[in-house]
Symmetry: C2
């Protein structure tokens, strides 16, 4: 066989034309979303005030295995897809591992991350429904940038609530979103009830993703031509992100490869859920015995140290309840945690798969993450996002295990994005000033104490 | 014929294995480099104290048409090449033009630009010669980042003199270079004689590329294990950048296309020289009648308003003299000019081709550049570097002419890079605060008065 190329791109004809809905192959579904007032399962229509109708249907659809990607989204995908599957030859050599390491690189677009895959769908369906605008939140900024880009492309207005600590740290992220025409508000803000209450409680708060979600939903609920869009956690997001795994699988098939281990960083689960989808299908249907590993920050360890329980998806406690691994919607990671992956919960689908032992999880502190990031950027020449670097760390660990055992395993990890807007964190690390805060059991207990009483 | 895809990538097998030396096909060569003391033509050996020997040979070689790209550079190229040739369908539609617009996008790498093509060669040959370190200068930061990446990959130390105005405006550019292990010094600095003299003359100067070049050369001259590397202007740089045009030509051939017009931004000429190379060969050999257009900033108009004369390549007047279009080595563009393209001269090869009417040139003020950039980023979804946006502006002008005449011309332009580290300039533009300073004839005369007396 010819030597495997450094990068493998699909042709535009080879690109997947359908998303894959992993729920259709899960033996058990995750527990239903609940109305927080009645504690009764939510109907699809109950979500219509919040999301576009088509997205609500996708959110609740656990049976349709493949869903056609609309032509206009396929066209839009071509502006930044296919993404390359890259063989990390230089990393392999430096580690001296017999393992073959591949990564799917989703950062070659202006949002700098995989988030654009889902943003595309949200903007498209909003336009199709005749809406004029969307609202959303952003933490590290990738999601806000992605939705700004998609809204500019499809012709929608967008308001982004940006977690205040990021708003202050990342003026250039804000400037990118504004260049695409979005309006950016630091959260908590005085433009919403939720925001005003948060500020009254702590005027100096740096904000949280959960609070920014509450504000974005509150603003959208007041305007019939507006809906809310969320970039992670949701089933619809995992559906749209399935393009990552589908492309990866086609590319690996072309190379005669199949992963023994699939590794992704996990904040809300959008990337790992998408990357692993097509491979997890094989595992769910008994065709593969691959391992799947979620890597999360030690400072926000929703799977490794969280509870599997019903919880709100936001800090303001205005969303439906989802059963998921959670640290409690009041939990806020320490502000010295860099980048994203600071959400208190985890995708209900990923939570269920983790609970049912299809998926493993590890956590890592951020100095080790930046060790991995810095090693990777010199070898593979891509400066990774802090989030993505969690997956690099996980892949290196697995490759080093192979070095010990002599096994030539095939490792696939998701390189979700680039770190060009995360340089303050790299500067901290380069200067030896990076710290981390790993929550104590008492810290976590405070979050668990706030969980709604459902079970 | 099938519809032309949005993006065309070559396979790794299709990637060029040789650089193309345009001098081998030029009917007349540019005038020789001169020793500034004796005013005699320079011998290849005279350059050995400054550059690696192999690069000196390439610099002076006007006859070898194709030069093999060393295997290790080909391997390195695969970390960021091939770059896509993209059909700007969305821009065409928005302009309502019958023209077909293509762009070669060189920004999908961490340096954010085409500069890595030449940096790869400079680091490789330095390593081959057994050197330990390189010095260079950087203005907007792309070149410094590119050389930092290549030096990290090939295992060399690097000192970068960064023009002070950029050093202050772009702390994150500095951080990227440092993450790759480079040492960054703001220029002018007190570490060199040239720098100290500049500071004595004007302690508040923002610096210039010409001065940073002088400092980098001075530092390298004091260390026998160190040489200097320059990212533009030189013949060797155009040679290494020829990969851009060679790839573009192969990709266009696959699509059954050939450009009627080739457009690039021009500061020192590295990108345009590389992009146009393979197509200019056809023009020089009578096989094509394509037009070639350099787009330069109105604030630093070396071709459109400069003199074709012998001049120093640096402000410190320590380099050989090159005959080129120049504003005088004392010329400094206004600090309110964003991004790069602020060099006082122009590649001797491009200068000669311009002088001999193979190449046209236009200049544009930066508000119009950012109008084009903002339009492009919403339509084609890539946030372009200010430098690259000069070429976008040029392409839009040509496409609008086609709209008037009804001609379905094929336009190819170079999108040299991304603007992720140029957000302060976008913020100025977004806030309506962007200004420009177009030099008066008297301003230019002051630069011309400083030209060395040779002719």
């Amino acid at each position: 066989m010819a030597k495997i190329p450094y990068k493998t791109y699909l042709t535009e004809e080879e690109m997947p034309k359908q998303w894959y809905n992993i729920r259709a192959d899960m033996k058990e579904q995750h527990d239903p979303l609940l109305n927080p007032g009645t504690l009764q399962p939510l109907a699809t229509e109950d979500l219509y005030p919040v999301f576009c109708e088509e997205l609500c249907k996708q959110e609740m659809d656990s049976t349709t295995r493949y869903i056609d990607i609309p032509e206009q989204i396929l066209d839009y995908y071509k502006t930044f897809r296919p993404s390359p599957l890259i063989r990390a030859y230089h990393l392999e050599k430096a580690l001296g591992t017999p393992a073959k390491i591949y990564f799917k690189f989703e950062g070659n677009n202006t949002s700098g991350s995989h988030k654009l895959n889902a943003a595309a769908a949200m903007a498209y369906y909003a336009k199709e429904q005749g809406l004029k605008s969307l609202t959303t939140e952003t933490g590290a900024g990738q999601w806000g940038t992605a939705l700004s880009m998609a809204c500019a492309y499809f012709g929608l207005d967008l308001t982004v609530f940006m977690v205040k600590v990021s708003f202050n740290q990342k003026p250039f992220r804000k400037a990118v979103m504004e260049t695409y025409g979005a309006k950016i508000i630091p959260s908590p803000s005085d433009t919403t009830q939720v925001g005003r209450a948060m500020l009254a409680n702590d005027p100096n708060t740096g904000g949280s993703l959960g609070c920014a979600i509450s504000e974005a939903i509150e603003l959208s609920m007041g305007d019939d031509n507006c809906r809310y869009a969320l970039g992670s956690v949701l089933n619809q997001v995992l559906l749209h992100q399935s393009i990552i795994g589908l492309e990866s699988k086609i590319a690996m098939e072309k190379l005669g490869e199949y992963p023994d281990v699939v590794i992704g960083c996990a904040g809300g689960g959008s990337n790992l859920g998408g990357l692993m989808s097509a491979f997890m299908q094989d595992k769910l249907t008994g065709k593969s015995n691959a391992r799947f590993i979620a890597v999360e920050p030690a400072s926000c360890p929703s799977m490794t140290r969280g509870k599997y329980a019903y919880d709100f998806c936001d800090t303001g406690k205005i969303t439906p309840l989802a059963r998921m691994y959670t640290l409690g919607s009041d939990f806020m990671p320490s502000p010295n945690h860099a980048g994203g992956l600071r959400y208190h919960g985890m995708s209900p689908i990923l939570s269920k798969l983790y609970h049912d032992k299809y998926l493993e999880a590890i956590s890592v502190d951020q100095n080790k993450v930046f060790d991995a990031a810095t090693m990777f950027c010199k070898l593979e020449q891509i400066l990774p996002a802090p989030e993505s670097s969690h997956a690099i760390y996980g892949a290196i660990q697995e490759a080093l295990k192979c070095k010990e055992t002599g096994e030539a395993k095939t490792i696939l990890f998701g390189l979700t994005g680039t770190g060009y807007f995360d340089m303050p964190a790299y500067m901290q690390y380069n200067e030896g000033k990076m710290t981390d805060y790993i929550p104590t059991d008492a810290d976590l207990q405070r979050g668990f104490d706030g969980l709604p009483k459902v079970d």
